[in-house]
Amino acid sequence: MINNLPKHIVRLILLLLFSLLLALVAKSYLTDPSFYEYGHYRADTIPELAAGEPVYKGSVYCLECHEQRKADWSEGAHVAVQCEVCHGTNREVCLNPNQEHPESPKTTVPADTIRLCTTCHLALAARPAKHPQIILGQHPFPDEETPQCYTCHNPHSPSNMEPAGEKALPLGITESPAGLAEVVSKCARCHGKQGQGRNKTPALAGMQADVFIELMNNYKSGNSESKTMIKFASRLSDEEIAGLARYYEGLPVPAPD
């Protein structure tokens, strides 16, 4: 049959076949071996993209060491705010896990906390009404010269109106009683870090242990008007109450104003 075809047609067919072959050969050489493995794309790109090292570690990572901060933070409204949101990611440490964290440059909160806090808490029209917001110029600042949010609010638990600087524990006591750090931090939210009391909340520091235990047992049995204290006391064991009683008895009685 081919013999019957004119010569130039035969040549044309051969040329076409040759081009096709050339194209196929070129394709088999130029296409990545993983290209059609799962579809019309290079499969190897997926492990490449998945191999990246996460930068944001999440609060779980930070709280492994920063136990003290956890107590404040985990009870406050800011529990939903991850450490890195305000403190930033410590990129050097995160990308190089072998590097010791304390020796690396520590990421800090920006010095201007008004700027930082208004990122979320400046009154903007589009912010949901139930979200706490301030109007700058109307919100009171005790220190008008250098207004900063942390002079009144503890940034880790902002409804706790206690200066964040007041971190040190009172004379003779280096830390909260063993196992009670978390409970003490809860008491401190209203009664103050030194148990000194605040506004209408009575002082706990220097209270006799048996008085303390009796009061707490009253709360525990629901025999009080303070719903907060009933709820709070009902979660405490007798051992915890005794521990707290001894702890607060040992604290120095606050000086009268």
């Binding site: 493995e37 998945a50 944001y56 999440g58 903007l124 912010r127």
Partner: protein
């Protein structure tokens, strides 16, 4: 005589070259075909793909956004940039937040976002933006924020238009870009109805949100979800009925952006409004 001889030589040469090339080609193509793994081997490989402890056939990722909770703090936008090393200027974002404001007596929303010069100025840096408090003296009847990102559509237009197979949807439902294969033609940027793709001029490639593929394959949340302080952004696996996103879809009446585009987006919204698209 000389002419005839020449003719013969040329013919012989062409024949010989043709045969040689054909043989080479057949051998090469055959070799590649034989070298390709069979289906069973591929399935075994897929069980720990793309990383050792991850099976991409077991997951079906989806994203939820409750716009009624968004406070426009833009921590998500910052986290995305840091996590993914996105180009550091205010024109390149894998995720962003838009503000919609209806002034009293107006029928249409005023929309501003990352491209707005006032918002860039308010951030104090050319590489960021922050919502400028421009409506403080105006009468606002309604206002809200809408976070946006790639919708990782089930039928993505961007994938369909790519001429080189540089973008694709994975088995676990994430639309990714192969920067090595991308030729920078920007068809995908044009095709996306959500404006979710960006172009990196320096590298000449398209870029987009990956739902932090390097995080989700390790059991972590995408960075934007991780840092969201209000629970606006949720993420999870539709194959797991108790995952945050499954709960989100179950407990809310959810919507998607531009359903008429036929892309079948996988980002589900609560709190959309008539002017949001």
């Amino acid at each position: 005589m000389t002419k005839d001889k020449k003719k013969t030589e040329r013919r012989e040469f062409l024949c010989a070259t043709g045969k040689a090339l054909a043989g080479l080609g057949v051998a090469a193509t055959g070799g590649t075909l034989l070298a390709r793994e069979d289906d069973a081997a591929l399935a075994a490989k897929a069980a720990s793909f793309p990383t050792k402890d991850y099976d991409w056939t077991k997951h079906r990722w989806a994203y939820g956004i409750d716009a009624t909770k968004c406070i426009g703090c833009l921590r998500c936008v910052e986290a995305c940039k840091v996590e993914n090393d996105v180009v550091g200027d205010a024109n390149h974002f894998r995720t962003w937040v838009e503000r919609y404001v209806y002034l009293e007596g107006e029928d249409h929303a005023l929309v501003d976002s990352h491209a707005d010069p006032q918002n860039i100025a308010a951030s104090g840096s050319e590489s960021e933006y922050r919502f400028d408090n421009r409506y403080k003296d105006k009468k606002v009847s309604k206002a809200f924020f809408i976070p946006k990102l790639c919708n990782h559509c089930a039928h993505p237009a961007c994938v369909q238009v790519c001429p080189v197979g540089a973008t694709f949807r994975t088995e676990d439902g994430v639309v990714l870009i192969d920067h090595d294969y991308c030729i920078g033609c920007r068809y995908c940027v044009q095709a996306c109805p959500y404006g979710a793709r960006l172009f990196i001029e320096e590298e000449g490639v398209s870029d987009k949100c990956t739902w932090c593929y390097h995080r989700i394959t390790k059991g972590l949340m995408p960075a934007c979800v991780e840092v969201c302080p209000t629970g606006t952004r949720v993420f999870g696996d539709l194959n797991d009925a108790s995952s945050p996103v499954s709960e989100f879809i179950k407990n809310n009446q959810v919507q998607v952006l531009k359903p008429e585009s036929g892309n079948a987006p996988m980002c589900f919204y609560v709190g959309l409004d008539k002017d949001v698209s």
